[in-house]
């Protein structure tokens, strides 16, 4: 089912964040781990699935393919979706701040 806004999976969100700097498979796994301070560890199957799906949905594109590995980059559409998701998560976090006052 093509992405049409709405909540992203954690994997989508972190891969889009990681792809703000173009990268290939193995590099992306490390980047996701770095961005999340080691909280998110991404498996090969999850990464392969999320890259294939987001490329199909136009959120990312392959900018280099040497036959062995593909280098991906985020598209404008992907950036826009990422900003929307970030705003949504931020709003949710702000709403959830009430729990700290209890």
């Amino acid at each position: 089912m093509p992405y049409s806004g709405g909540p992203m999976t954690e994997a989508m969100y972190y891969v889009l964040l990681a792809l703000l700097s173009p990268g290939h498979g193995y590099r992306l796994m490390s980047a996701v781990s770095e961005i999340s301070a080691g909280r998110v560890k991404m498996g090969s199957g999850t990464l392969y699935g999320v890259l294939t799906r987001m490329q199909k949905d136009g959120l990312i594109k392959a900018i280099e393919d040497d036959g062995r590995r593909k280098t991906y980059a985020i598209t404008e559409e992907g950036k826009s979706a990422l900003r929307e998701e970030y705003a949504r998560i931020k709003a949710m976090a702000a709403d959830g701040a009430v729990i700290e006052r209890e």
């Binding site: 089912m1 498979g25 193995y26 991404m42 498996g43 090969s44 999850t46 999320v50």
Partner: protein, 419 residues
């Protein structure tokens, strides 16, 4: 080592992965898996990481290369799963995000759906072809269907038995796939991030369950129908008193002459040779057979051998008549039967002779349709008459007098009853 029972849940494989890791640490490595059984090969104990994923088409191309780059090799391929092994015991599992794994299951769900629809279409085509053909079933076809199995099966093994076995196997296979589809749908609904996709998976599960149930019940009903069809299609001797009043009797057949039916073999010996004919012989049937079928209410066939003496002559020849009387359940079936009989005789007469089909104007007679099929140089004429649901097929053969269809028709008493 050998085979052992090893059930893998492809939707929640985490525990199964751990079991595989424990076994490899003991020196047992999975090599083959199919439907709850796995083959393990003995080797040096080694700590390894295992990952299992649902997959309808195995592991190929770019995906395989991607996995291999990250140290994952295909340890074994099951019918609908990939079991991957990594020599690095602390490697990340293949799938680390349940929402993303739900997308993998979603693809699997679509494939299962396609497979079930394909099987259901095959089921419908194979099981219900007979039911769909029901309006087209003439008596001959019903008899043919009932007898079909005897050519390649033991007598007690009827078509309904074969179809029942196929139905049972198909139903079990479809139920197995349906169970998988429902489990996949539940996993998607519980894990995918899209509410719409979750709702669709659950609706699809319900719709497919109802469709499979309805088609299976229809399949069972079809078997009951076939059993009835077979039970109804039979042959047994009939008494002459069974022949209904409106059926044409043999002595009505002969134009401008006299028919002298023969009672016994001795009569045949005596009278076939041109000679004086005794006019005292009684009308009788040398064979009367009654049939039943799912599409006919009554079906008789009877024939008679006799001598035919043309008007004004003292010598005649062999006359053979054969009449089949069929009363169908519907007028539509009766109409189809008429076409069937005509086509059969047209084909019969076409070699080595050619056939002539004459359609008579039934106006003035008591019949709706009267058609004669004959060959140009034969004394055999086949009449097919229809009135409502009743069809009669009358074969007349006179060895010494070549009668054309028109000549026989012109003099046929039954065609002139209401004229």
């Amino acid at each position: 080592m050998g085979y052992k029972r090893f059930v893998i849940n492809k939707y929640e494989p985490w525990e199964d992965e751990k079991r595989l890791e424990e076994l490899s640490a003991k020196g047992e490595f999975i090599k083959c898996y199919a439907e709850g059984f796995a083959y393990f090969k003995k080797g040096d104990p080694k700590r390894m990481k295992y990952s299992i994923e649902a997959s309808a088409f195995g592991l190929h191309g770019k995906k395989r290369r991607f996995y291999e780059e990250n140290g994952w090799k295909l340890a074994c391929r099951g019918s609908d799963i990939n079991i991957l092994a990594n020599e690095e015991p602390n490697a990340q599992p293949i799938h680390t995000d349940r929402s993303e794994y739900a997308h993998v299951i979603q693809q699997f769900h679509r494939i299962m759906l396609g497979l079930i629809i394909f099987l259901l279409v095959l089921m419908l085509l194979s099981y219900f072809s007979v039911v769909w053909l029901f309006p087209l079933l003439t008596h001959e076809r019903v008899m043919c269907f009932a007898d079909y199995s005897r050519y390649f099966l033991p007598h007690e093994m009827r078509m309904s038995v074969i179809i029942s076995i196929i139905w049972l196997v198909d139903t079990v296979v479809i139920a197995f796939y349906l169970n998988d589809l429902v489990s996949a749908g539940r996993f998607i609904a519980g894990n995918i991030e899209s509410g719409k996709a979750a709702g669709r998976a659950i609706s699809l599960n319900r719709v497919m369950t109802v469709i499979v149930a309805v088609i299976s019940v229809l399949g069972a009903a079809n078997i009951v129908f076939l059993l009835r069809l077979e039970a109804l299609s039979g042959e047994y001797p009939a008494d002459i008193s069974d022949v209904p009043g409106e059926a044409v009797m043999i002595d009505e057949f002969f134009p401008e002459g006299t028919f002298y039916p023969l009672l016994t073999e001795e009569d045949i010996e005596k009278y076939i040779v041109p000679s004086d004919i005794k006019k005292t012989a009684k009308v009788t049937e040398d064979e009367a057979t009654r049939f039943t079928s799912a599409v006919t209410e009554e079906y008789f066939q009877y024939g008679q051998l006799g001598a035919y003496i043309p008007e004004g002559q003292t010598q005649g020849g062999v006359a053979v008549t054969w009449c089949r009387y069929l009363k169908f359940n519907t007028e539509f079936s009766a109409g189809l039967a008429v076409d069937d009989v005509i086509n059969f005789h047209k084909e019969l007469f076409i070699r080595p002779k050619f056939s002539i089909v004459t359609e008579f104007d039934p106006k003035g007679t008591e019949f709706d349709r009267v058609i004669a099929v004959s060959s140009a140089d034969s004394s055999t004429v086949v009449f097919v008459v229809q009135k409502g649901r009743t069809v009669m097929e009358i074969n007349v053969h006179v060895s010494t007098d070549n009668l054309t269809a028109e000549e026989v028709f012109k003099n046929f008493p039954i065609f002139e009853k209401n004229s």
